[in-house]
């Protein structure tokens, strides 16, 4: 049980990284869409 908990403790972080990549990636795509729609610069 202790070994499983430790394994989960090590591997939870790359899972979180993947989730944040998805959230930020979706945000970036929306930023580009909004800028294109409004005829603005994205940066």
């Amino acid at each position: 049980m202790q070994d499983l908990v430790m394994t989960a403790y090590i591997l939870i972080w790359p899972v979180l990284v993947g989730i944040m990549m998805f959230i930020m990636g979706r945000g970036v795509m929306r930023d580009f869409s909004r800028a294109r729609r409004n005829g603005e610069d994205v940066v």
């Binding site: 394994t7 403790y9 090590i10 790359p14 990549m21 930020m24 945000g27 795509m29 603005e40 940066v43």
Partner: protein, 562 residues
């Protein structure tokens, strides 16, 4: 290095990887380049940058090469709690600044640097103290990143240290020079995708290649009791507490964070900085776990240098393709921070030196842009030269971070308390700096009465750190209760004890002395500053581009800058 040989990528592979990375980034920056850049855009983009790009940029900026190496070192030395005590507090630097960032934007929606706001509040001396500390910090960070590039290239290829330094320096300058901050944040998006993607693959790849759960079951024997303890006192006192004390200091002292606070759409500050906090924390703590795995497999750091831990783990447990991915991950992390430092340095010199002091607000935009670009070239040159000396940059940065503790209370309080005047700000910071140096370098005997006085100020300093954090989120009353309560609760533990921890003692004294002095001098002040004056004094520089109808993004409260 003591019998260990790192996997060597071929010279052609490394050159191709670096060409692809820097060449691709350069081409990306050219897509947004304009023949005639706007000076405000060069420093803070549109002031209405969306959530996705802002969060990605803040994450990329805050993750630098040292993040990985230091987190892994912490995991190796302190065991399972080690990466937390590095990654968590570093992440909180991003989180705790955002409430104050919302205040900065409310007071000065068109600000370019925090020092510029302080100039409007107090005048030149206060401004230059903050700007000077920002410049020193960014220069040191630049040198550290170039040094890391040189070390990585020398370690994983037949190329020399100096080749890596030169390629990273010239490559980063090339894509940042023309469009400044705009190029920095756009390229950060690609760089963070590479970094986080690589981290998400490399962490489980190393873990399973090293043996997976078998490594864990056999590795417990290699932990000491403290290393196996998630709530290790040793790890907290030696790693966590000094870093925790630096949370607000790094956030206030670093212009790269302030630039992103000024660039992001105002209604997106909170989600941006919360996301960046989680992304940074997860990535750095995750890579720090490689240090824990190294401990469990019984790896000895090559040459006794803990910075070799992650490259060793990569060499031992990753395929050649994934070693290439690891290489790009480190190059991406150091380049994204280096380009942010270049953008930060150029904005400080453009605004705080040329804009507000030389031209006194009446700038020539063309001259201002070239001031910024020449600053980048000069900073890169300085960074390359000093990187070649391989100085212990990280110790220097820790020192500067602690120095920044002297300015935290005066800066934050100045933007809320109308009675603070320039004298209170300047005197409190300078005296605090002197006290910090005296304690840090052991120039004051840490025994008897002097030790008690220093421990008293450090206790106050600990209360100030916690109080300011509570104040940012919950207001003045909460800040006073938490700050006062924390100092009282900690007092029985700090007296007679902190004198054995010079780094922590000196860091907390920086906070405590500046707060006490600033408060005492302010209570004698008759000033009653009108904060609306800041908005009137801090304006865009490139007025030609802002004449006529403004193009306002939903949720933004200021005209688009570029």
């Amino acid at each position: 290095m003591d019998g260990f040989s790192f996997y060597q990528l071929q010279t052609s592979t490394v050159v191709l990887l670096l060409l692809a990375f820097y060449g691709g980034t350069f081409l990306l920056s050219m897509r947004i380049g304009r023949k005639s850049e706007n000076v405000d855009g060069y420093m803070n983009s549109t002031g209405a940058v969306g959530f996705g790009i802002s969060a990605a940029s803040m994450t990329a900026t805050w993750i630098w090469a040292a993040s990985f190496y230091a987190a892994a070192t912490s995991g190796y030395k302190y065991g399972i709690s080690g990466p937390i005590h590095y990654g968590l507090w570093g992440a909180l630097m991003i989180l705790f600044i955002y409430p104050f960032g919302m205040r900065f934007r409310k007071l000065a929606p068109e600000a370019h640097t925090l020092a510029e706001i302080i100039h409007a509040r107090h005048g030149r001396s206060s401004q230059l103290i903050l700007a000077g500390s920002n410049i020193v910090g960014s220069l040191i960070s630049l040198m550290a990143n170039f040094t890391a590039a040189g070390a990585l290239v020398a370690m994983l290829s037949p190329l020399e240290f100096v080749h890596g330094v030169l390629i990273a320096g010239v490559g980063t300058l090339a894509y940042t020079l023309w469009s400044g901050f705009r190029a920095s944040i756009l390229t950060d998006v690609v760089q963070v995708a590479a970094m986080l993607g690589a981290a998400a693959i490399i962490i489980p790849a190393v873990f399973f290649s090293a043996g997976g759960t078998e490594v864990v079951s056999q590795g417990w024997d290699r932990f000491t009791a403290e290393q196996a303890n998630l709530f290790s006192r040793t790890a907290f006192l030696e790693q966590g507490a000094p870093y925790f004390a630096a949370v607000l200091a790094y956030a206030i002292g670093n212009q790269t964070i302030a630039q992103r606070l000024f660039a992001v759409r105002e209604d997106m500050i909170k989600p941006t900085f919360i996301s960046a906090t989680v992304s940074y924390g997860a990535t750095v703590i995750g890579l720090g776990m490689l240090g824990v795995v190294a401990l469990m497999v019984g790896l000895e750091p090559a040459g006794g240098d803990h910075n070799n831990l992650i490259p060793q783990m990569a060499s031992n447990y990753l395929s050649p393709v994934l070693i290439g991915v690891f290489f790009i991950m480190v190059i991406g992390s150091l380049s994204s921070t280096a380009d942010s430092d270049l953008a930060a340095l150029s904005s400080i010199v453009m605004t705080d030196i040329y804009g507000r002091n030389v031209a006194k607000g009446r700038v020539d935009p063309k001259v201002m842009l070239w001031v910024g670009r020449i600053t980048m070239i000069a900073a890169t040159t300085a960074g390359l030269v000093f990187a070649s000396y391989r100085i212990d940059i990280l110790s220097l940065l820790v020192f500067v971070g602690a120095l920044w503790g002297s300015i935290v209370f005066p800066v934050i309080a100045s933007l809320y308390w109308p009675r603070i005047n320039n004298r209170a700000f300047t005197v409190s910071v300078l005296v605090s700096l002197v006290v910090f140096c005296l304690v840090r370098f052991g120039l004051v005997p840490l025994e008897g009465g002097s030790a008690l006085v220093l421990e008293a100020f450090a206790t106050i300093g600990a209360g100030v750190v916690l109080g300011l954090m509570a104040f940012g989120f919950f207001g003045l009353r909460a800040g006073l209760v938490v700050g006062g309560g924390a100092a009282l609760l900690l007092a029985p533990f700090t007296f007679g004890f902190l004198r054995d921890y010079t780094v922590l003692l000196s860091s907390l004294n920086a906070y405590g002395v500046s707060t006490v002095l600033c408060t005492l001098l302010t209570l004698r002040s008759t000033e009653n500053f009108d904060f609306n004056d800041i908005r009137r004094r801090v304006t865009n520089f490139d007025e030609d581009e802002h004449a006529g109808a403004a193009d306002v993004a939903p949720g933004a409260t200021q005209p688009g800058r570029a």
